[in-house]
C-alpha cells in the first residue's frame, strides 16, 4: 500500500514533468520522427512530373515546419529527396528490427507515443531519420536531382567561378549542412529534447564515420604520381546495421528530479558516478559527448498491446531463433501448411526472373496471444 502510494506519487511527478517539458508542435523533426502520418506517403511510387510548383503539394503533405517548408519549396529536388529519405529510413528500420519484438511498426499512434518518450527505440528512430536524410541528400546530389547542391553558398556567378577555379566541395559536406539546417539546432533546456537532438546528431556522425576515401592514380602512364581521392558513403544497409549496434549498446541517461529545486540531475548509466551539476543550473548540456545513442527510460517490453505497439501476439517468428524472445514466453503456435512458391529461380540481370513453382510443406510459427 505504501509502495503503491509512492509509485503513484512518482508517476504524478513524472507526468507533471512530461507535461511541462513536452515540446510544442513546433518540434522541427522529420521523417520517422515527424508529425506526418507515414501511411499517406506513397512509399514506392513513381514521382509525378514535378513541373512548376508541383512539388509544393508534396512539401505541404509532408507536414513540415515553417522553415523546413521553405527549404523544401526552394527546389523540387528537395521534396522528392525528403520523401525518399523517409522511405529509406522506414525500410531500414523495419529491416533491422525484423526479428525483434518491436518490429518498427510505424502506424501513427504507436510511433507518436514512442516519440513522446525517451526509449532506446526513440533514440534509434531519431538517429535513423537523420542518417537517412543525410544519405539520401548526398545521393540526390550525385544523381543531379537537386538544383542546388555543392558550391551553393555564393550567388550564381560566383558559383560558376568557384566551380571553374577549384571545383566544389563534396556532397556529404553539403548534405550534412543541409540536414543540420533542416532539423534545426535549437538550444533547449529540456533534457529529452536535448537527448533527441543528440541522437539525431549521432545519425549524422555515423554516416560521417562510415565515409571511405577511395583514390585513383592517373599520372604519367597511369602511375601514382598524380592521384585523386574522393569520399564515398557506405551503403545505407551498413549504416542501419551500425545504428542497430548502437541501439543495442545505448546508454541510459538517468534523470532524477531533485524535488527541492526542481532541477534535474543527469547521470549516465554504465555504473559511472553521477555527474555533479555545475553551479549554473540547467544551461549547459550535460549530455556526454559520445557517439552512443542515449535514452532516458527503459523500454517497455512490447509484448502486449499497449500505447507503443500492438504486441507480439500472432507475430510470425522463426523457431530456434527468435520465437522464445518474441513471444515473451507465451509459446507459439505451429501451423503446417502447403506453400507454393517460386524456386530454382533463374535470375537474369534486371527484370526477368524465371522460376519453377515448387510446393512445399512449411511450418509457420506464430506467437500465442
Amino acid at each position: 500500500m505504501l509502495d503503491g502510494h509512492l509509485l503513484l506519487g512518482w508517476c504524478s511527478i513524472i507526468l507533471l514533468v512530461l507535461v511541462l517539458s513536452t515540446p510544442g508542435p513546433s518540434a522541427a523533426y522529420f521523417g520517422l520522427t515527424g508529425n506526418e502520418p507515414l501511411t499517406i506517403l506513397p512509399l514506392n511510387s513513381v514521382p509525378e512530373e514535378t513541373t512548376g510548383r508541383g512539388h509544393y503539394k508534396l512539401c505541404d503533405r509532408l507536414k513540415l515546419e515553417k522553415k523546413q517548408r521553405r527549404m523544401c519549396r526552394r527546389d523540387p529536388g528537395v521534396a522528392e529527396t525528403l520523401r525518399e529519405a523517409i522511405t529509406m529510413s522506414v525500410m531500414e528500420c523495419q529491416y533491422q528490427f525484423r526479428f525483434e519484438r518491436w518490429n518498427c511498426t510505424l502506424e501513427g499512434r504507436h510511433r507518436a507515443n514512442i516519440l513522446k518518450r525517451g526509449f532506446k527505440e526513440t533514440a534509434f528512430l531519431y538517429a535513423v531519420s537523420s542518417a537517412g536524410l543525410t544519405h539520401a541528400l548526398a545521393k540526390a546530389c550525385s544523381a543531379g536531382r537537386m538544383e542546388r547542391c555543392t558550391c551553393d553558398e555564393a550567388p550564381d556567378l560566383e558559383n560558376r567561378k568557384a566551380w571553374q577555379w577549384g571545383g566544389c566541395g563534396d556532397n556529404l559536406k553539403y548534405a550534412n549542412k543541409f540536414v543540420k539546417d533542416f532539423l534545426g539546432k535549437r538550444s533547449n533546456k529540456d533534457l529529452r529534447a536535448r537527448i533527441d537532438m543528440h541522437n539525431t546528431n549521432v545519425g549524422m556522425k555515423v554516416i560521417k564515420a562510415g565515409v571511405e576515401t577511395t583514390c585513383k592514380c592517373h599520372g604519367v602512364s597511369g602511375s601514382c604520381t598524380v592521384q585523386t581521392c574522393w569520399r564515398q558513403l557506405l551503403p545505407f544497409h551498413e549504416i542501419g546495421k551500425q545504428l542497430k549496434q548502437r541501439y543495442e549498446s545505448s546508454v541510459k541517461v538517468g534523470s532524477s528530479t531533485n524535488e527541492a529545486t526542481g532541477e534535474s540531475e543527469i547521470s549516465t548509466g554504465r555504473g559511472q558516478q553521477p555527474q555533479q551539476q555545475p553551479p549554473t543550473p540547467g544551461v549547459s548540456d550535460h549530455i556526454p559527448r559520445t557517439m552512443d545513442l542515449l535514452h532516458i527510460e527503459d523500454s517497455p517490453s512490447f509484448c502486449r498491446p499497449s500505447k507503443y505497439s500492438s504486441g507480439t501476439a500472432a507475430r510470425k517468428c522463426y523457431k530456434d531463433k527468435n520465437c522464445d524472445a518474441i513471444c515473451c514466453g507465451r509459446g507459439h503456435n505451429t501451423q503446417s501448411r502447403e506453400v507454393t512458391r517460386p524456386c530454382q529461380c533463374q535470375v537474369r540481370w534486371c527484370c526477368y526472373v524465371e522460376c519453377k513453382q515448387c510446393t512445399q510443406r512449411e511450418e509457420v510459427y506464430t506467437c500465442k496471444g
Binding site: 566551380w163 566544389c168 602512364s221 581521392c229 537474369r348
Partner: protein, 546 residues
C-alpha cells in the same frame, strides 16, 4: 670543358646563386600551395535509370537524367520487374557535370571511373570471372537546349572484381558486394560544356552476355578533371619558365661555340637536357583551350618520358666523364650498356602508353586493363620497364661508387702531384661532388614531398589560409627540376675567364698557377678533350717526373 663557371666562381658568388635559386624554389612551392586550388576534382555521379519506351529503336535517342527533357525514370528495378521492362530498355544516364554547372576546356582532361552497387542475393550471385558488357554512348552539346552530338559509341567489357566480405547466407541478402573500381573513360580534352553518357547492359542468353552479374542496384561514376585554377597557375608557370630555360640554353651554347675546340660529350648532353626541359616547358597547352586536341594527354606523357630518360642518361654520362681513370670516353657509344636500359625501358612505357592513351584517342572507353590479354601485355611492359629501371640504378650506383673510389685514391696522391695536375683533379672532384649533392637533394625533396602529398589529405590549414599540399608538390617539384637544369647549364658552362686562352693548354696550366689565393684560384681543368688530353697528360706526366 675548360674551367667551368662553378670552379671559377668565388664561394660568395656561389652562395648568392644558391640562395637565389632557393628563393625561386620557395616561390614555386608557394605558388602551388597558396595560389592554386587542388590539382584535380572528383565528382561522384549516380546514374539515373531511364526507361526506353520504344522497343526497337531505329535512330539513336539520348536520355537526359534531369532537366526539361528528362527521361521516364524508375527508382528501383522492382518497378521494372512489375512493369516487365527488358534489360535492353533500361538506360543508365549520367550528365556531366551536375545541374547549373558547365565543363570548360581549362579542365584539360576528364577521366571517368565506374562502380557497380551489386546486392547479394542467394539465387543471383556473381559468378566467378563474370564480365559486364556495357553498350555505352557519349554525346556532347554546348548549350542547354540543343541536340546532342554523338562523340563515341562502343561495346565495352569489364571484369567484375567483386567480393562479398560476410558469409553468403540468407540473412545477409541485400548487402552489397565490394567491387573494384573500373576504369571507364578517358578524354584528353574537355572542349565541350555538357557531356552525356548513356549506358545499357544488354542481355543475350545465348551468347552469355551479361549473365551472372548479380543484382545490380545502381551504377555510380566518378569523373575526375583538372581544376581550372590549377591549369591557369600551371600554364603561367610554364610560360614563365620557358624563356628562362631557353635564354640560359642559348647563352650556354654560345659559350661553347665560342671555344676553339668542338664541344665534348658532356656539354652536348647538358644541352640535350636543356632542350628536353624546354620541350616540356613550352606551353603548347594554351592551344588546347581553343582547339580540341585530344592527344594532349599522350603528348604530355611523351614529353615527360623524353625528359626523364634524358635526365637519367645525363647522370650516367656525368658520372662516366668524371671517372678519372684515364680511359678515353667522350663518345656516346661507350655508354650503350648504361643508356640501353633507359632507352629500352622508356620505349616499353611508350608502347604501353600508346596502347592505352593512344587507342583512347579513337575510343575513349578503351582500357588495356579491361581484357585478359591486355592486362598481361600491360603488366609485361611495366615489368620490363621496372627491370630496366633496376638495371639502370645498379649501373648508376656502381658508377658513383667507382667515382668515389677513384676520388679517395686520388685524394691520397694529391699532395704529391704537380700543381696543374692537382688543380685538375680538385676541379673534377669538386664538380662531381657538387652535382652529386644537388642531385641527391633534389631527388630526396621529390621523394619526401611525394610521400607528404600522398599521406596528407591534400590540404593543410595554416592559420586562416589553406595550403594545398598536392598543388604545392606539383609546382614545387616542377620548379625544382627546372632550377636544377638551369643551375647545371649555368654552373657547368665554360668560364669566360678561360676560353680565350684555349689555344695552348700548356700556358693554361702554368699561367694561372698562383694568380690569386683562396677560392678565387682559377682551377683550370680538363675532363677529356678532343684536342688535348694526351698532350696534357704527357705534360703533367713530365712535370711529375721532374
Amino acid at each position: 670543358m675548360a674551367g667551368a663557371i662553378i670552379e671559377n666562381m668565388s664561394t660568395k658568388k656561389l652562395v648568392i646563386v644558391g640562395i637565389t635559386l632557393l628563393l625561386f624554389q620557395a616561390f614555386a612551392f608557394m605558388v602551388g600551395g597558396l595560389l592554386a586550388p587542388s590539382p584535380t576534382t572528383a565528382m561522384p555521379y549516380t546514374a539515373t535509370k531511364c526507361v526506353d519506351t520504344v522497343k526497337h529503336r531505329q535512330e539513336k535517342k539520348w536520355f537526359m537524367p534531369w532537366g526539361p527533357n528528362r527521361c521516364v525514370k524508375i527508382q528501383s528495378f522492382k518497378e521494372a520487374v512489375a512493369q516487365k521492362i527488358e534489360a535492353n530498355n533500361i538506360v543508365f544516364a549520367v550528365h556531366i557535370p551536375l545541374p547549373n554547372k558547365e565543363m570548360s576546356s581549362w579542365f584539360q582532361f576528364m577521366l571517368v571511373i565506374l562502380q557497380f552497387d551489386i546486392a547479394f542475393k542467394m539465387y543471383n550471385q556473381i559468378e566467378d570471372g563474370a564480365m559486364v558488357t556495357i553498350d555505352v554512348g557519349l554525346a556532347y552539346r554546348d548549350d542547354t537546349v540543343g541536340e546532342w552530338t554523338q562523340m563515341a559509341q562502343s561495346f565495352e567489357q569489364r571484369k567484375l572484381n567483386c567480393n562479398f566480405t560476410t558469409t553468403k547466407t540468407l540473412e545477409n541478402e541485400g548487402r552489397f558486394y565490394e567491387c573494384d573500381l573500373m576504369p571507364f573513360m578517358e578524354v584528353g580534352s574537355v572542349s565541350h560544356k555538357y557531356y552525356l553518357l548513356n549506358m545499357r547492359l544488354p542481355v543475350n542468353e545465348r551468347k552469355k552476355v551479361n549473365m551472372g552479374i548479380g543484382e545490380i542496384k545502381d551504377i555510380r561514376l566518378v569523373s575526375i578533371h583538372q581544376n581550372g585554377g590549377f591549369t591557369r597557375v600551371w600554364f603561367a608557370m610554364k610560360t614563365f619558365l620557358t624563356p628562362s630555360i631557353l635564354i640560359i640554353m642559348i647563352w650556354y651554347w654560345r659559350r661553347i661555340t665560342l671555344m676553339s675546340r668542338p664541344p665534348v660529350l658532356l656539354e652536348k648532353v647538358i644541352l640535350a637536357l636543356g632542350i628536353s626541359m624546354t620541350f616540356i616547358n613550352i606551353p603548347v597547352e594554351w592551344f588546347s583551350i581553343s582547339f580540341n586536341w585530344t592527344w594532349m594527354l599522350l603528348f604530355g606523357d611523351i614529353r615527360q618520358g623524353i625528359f626523364y630518360s634524358m635526365l637519367l642518361s645525363f647522370w650516367i654520362i656525368f658520372c662516366g666523364e668524371h671517372l678519372m681513370d684515364q680511359t678515353e670516353r667522350n663518345r656516346f657509344s661507350v655508354y650503350w650498356k648504361q643508356v640501353g636500359p633507359i632507352v629500352f625501358g622508356s620505349f616499353c612505357l611508350f608502347i604501353f602508353d600508346m596502347c592505352e592513351r593512344g587507342v583512347q584517342l579513337t575510343n575513349p572507353f578503351y582500357s588495356i586493363w579491361a581484357s585478359e590479354v591486355g592486362t598481361e601485355l600491360a603488366m609485361a611492359f611495366i615489368i620490363v620497364a621496372g627491370i630496366c629501371a633496376c638495371l639502370y640504378f645498379l649501373f648508376l650506383c656502381f658508377m658513383v661508387f667507382q667515382v668515389f673510389r677513384n676520388i679517395s685514391g686520388k685524394r691520397s696522391s694529391l699532395p704529391a702531384m704537380s700543381k696543374a695536375r692537382r688543380l685538375h683533379y680538385e676541379g673534377l672532384i669538386f664538380r662531381f661532388k657538387f652535382l652529386m649533392l644537388v642531385t641527391l637533394f633534389c631527388a630526396a625533396m621529390t621523394v619526401i614531398f611525394f610521400i607528404i602529398s600522398q599521406v596528407n589529405e591534400g590540404h593543410w590549414h595554416w592559420g586562416e589560409r589553406t595550403v594545398q599540399v598536392n598543388s604545392a608538390f606539383f609546382t614545387g617539384i616542377y620548379g625544382m627540376w627546372n632550377l636544377y637544369v638551369f643551375a647545371i647549364m649555368f654552373l657547368y658552362a665554360p668560364s669566360h675567364k678561360r676560353y680565350g686562352d684555349e689555344q695552348s693548354s700548356g700556358q693554361c696550366i702554368t699561367g694561372d698557377g698562383g694568380a690569386s689565393s683562396g677560392e678565387d684560384i682559377q682551377l683550370t681543368t680538363t675532363i677529356t678533350r678532343v684536342d688535348g688530353p694526351t698532350e696534357i697528360y704527357k705534360m703533367t706526366g713530365k712535370a711529375a717526373q721532374e
